[in-house]
């Protein structure tokens, strides 16, 4: 076998293309999951049964299914009903749906933790529900929800490795293929782990900084 440094140089370009795929899958899923999650949270705290009950059932339903099964379902079952998706699209969709539940619960927790007095003060100056949410409740709820939202982000990044099962060529997938063609399991998976850490450690650090800054502003 060639020396370690040469092997690392050989494997790195392939793994880095996987890393970019991981970043792309994570970012797109995060944006979609956050938008959907915000919608679930707003529906649940709307005060109307017609809004809150559907949101509650959708969230309970999706949360009860493992990510892998959701991914298989979207990738393998949807084409049978005419919805053909690429592996990348199916992966993003599965992650976004699953994580919209976690993120939705995080936002809902934030909304519910806003002091009742804030809602009364907003009402007392004549605000209607929508404006009260936008101007008074959500800005405070986001601040409260920020630490758990940061956790959701890191978990989503790590769970993006699951989309390798439907052949999305992200970091874990590239590692698996590289390992099975070279049999150099130790080097390859150590590099894969290190590359994940290159993303998660700065992300954690960043979240802490943002939290500190937000905390200081209140």
């Amino acid at each position: 076998m060639s020396p370690l440094s040469e092997r690392i140089q050989e494997y790195l370009p392939l793994l880095v293309t996987g890393l970019w795929q991981t970043v792309a899958v994570t970012l797109i899923s995060l944006v979609l999951a956050s938008a959907l999650g915000l919608m679930w949270a707003l529906m649940r705290s709307s005060g109307s049964r017609w809004m809150s009950l559907p949101a509650r059932y959708i969230v309970e339903f999706l949360r009860g299914i493992p990510i892998l099964v959701v991914l298989f379902y979207i990738y393998f079952v949807m084409p049978e009903v005419g919805l053909d998706l690429t592996a990348f699209q199916a992966g993003v969709m599965g992650l976004a749906l699953t994580y919209s539940c976690y993120i939705g619960e995080t936002f809902r927790g934030g909304i519910e933790a806003v002091d009742r007095g804030q809602i009364e003060a907003a009402k007392s100056i004549g605000m209607k529900h929508g404006k009260m949410m936008r101007r008074i409740v959500l800005p405070q709820a986001f601040r409260i929800a920020l630490p758990p939202y940061g956790n959701n982000m890191v978990m989503l990044l790590k769970d993006s490795s699951q989309v390798s099962v439907i052949s999305v060529a992200e970091l874990t997938m590239q590692g698996k293929m590289l390992a099975s063609s070279t049999f150099d399991n130790m080097t390859v998976f150590t590099m894969v782990a290190a590359l994940y850490l290159c993303l998660t450690i700065p992300l954690n650090f960043l979240m802490r900084r943002v939290e500190l800054k937000m905390g200081a502003a209140t």
Binding site: D115, K123, S124, G126
Partner: protein
């Protein structure tokens, strides 16, 4: 201006207001006093629909107040409220707190509102603190911002729910001084308070609530100095000579 006609309200089986009849005239300051649990805060909160009531009628200038009707939002812009725990918006500066209602609810011109808000803050003695966030202000300062926030709506009346009860003793005076000024300018105010001395000084009328009923209603002099009802006498004895 604000009229209560046979108002009843229950929380579940527990009846907290048992037929309230009273009236607050324009320019009057009326203080609601009574032991905790007597229903005075609940009565106040019914006026701007933060609580609903089951029967009877509360009206402002003839318009019925119904917490569940669409008209409640418009009524709230005319009846401002000051809370025991201030409830300032923590993500906004003092000035932004005062401007929020006029700009974002009433849709008034931002520049005009800003000038007016600065006037209100100066008036309550906070010219230096306009750009401070609530967390950087003392309780007394926060409550004065809350009063400025109420004034900025140019309301017909202001409801104050124990405005000094959450304050450290040394800050009570600064808030009462602001309220005294407002009373002198004949701002219509309905105030739930335990400050008997303050009520004696500024109130045109005093209502003593006892277990959901008006036990005594009259001028400050009548109710606070020469109370007829034994419950009022007993209550006043306890709050003015606690030991």
């Amino acid at each position: 201006m604000i009229r209560f006609e046979n108002v009843h309200k229950s929380f579940g089986k527990h009846e907290v207001l048992k037929g309230i009849d009273a009236e607050v005239d324009k320019g009057q300051v009326v203080c609601l006093i009574g032991a905790s649990g007597s229903g005075k805060s609940t009565l106040l909160r019914c006026v701007n629909g933060l609580e609903d009531y089951q029967s009877g009628r509360i009206s402002i200038e003839g318009e019925t107040i119904d917490a569940h009707a669409a008209s409640i939002h418009a009524i709230r812009t005319r009846v401002a409220m000051v809370f025991q725990r201030f409830n300032l918006f923590p993500h906004m500066t003092a000035l932004q707190n005062v401007m929020e209602g006029p700009v974002h609810v009433l849709g008034e011109d931002r520049r005009e509102v800003r000038a007016r808000a600065e006037d209100h803050l100066r008036r309550v003695g906070l010219a230096e603190k306009m750009d401070f966030y609530p967390s950087a202000l003392s309780g007394g300062q926060q409550q004065r911002v809350a009063i400025a926030r109420a004034l900025a709506m140019r309301p017909d009346a202001i409801l104050l729910d124990e405005p000094t009860s959450a304050l450290d003793p040394e800050m009570v005076g600064e808030v009462l001084a602001v309220l005294r000024d407002l009373a002198q300018e004949h701002m219509t105010m309905l105030i739930v308070t335990h400050e008997i001395q303050f009520a004696r000084e500024v109130a045109d009328g005093v209502i003593f609530l006892d277990q959901g009923r008006i036990a005594e209603h009259g001028s400050a002099e009548e109710v606070l100095t020469r109370p007829q009802n034994p419950r009022t006498q007993e209550f006043l004895r306890r709050v003015t000579h606690p030991i």
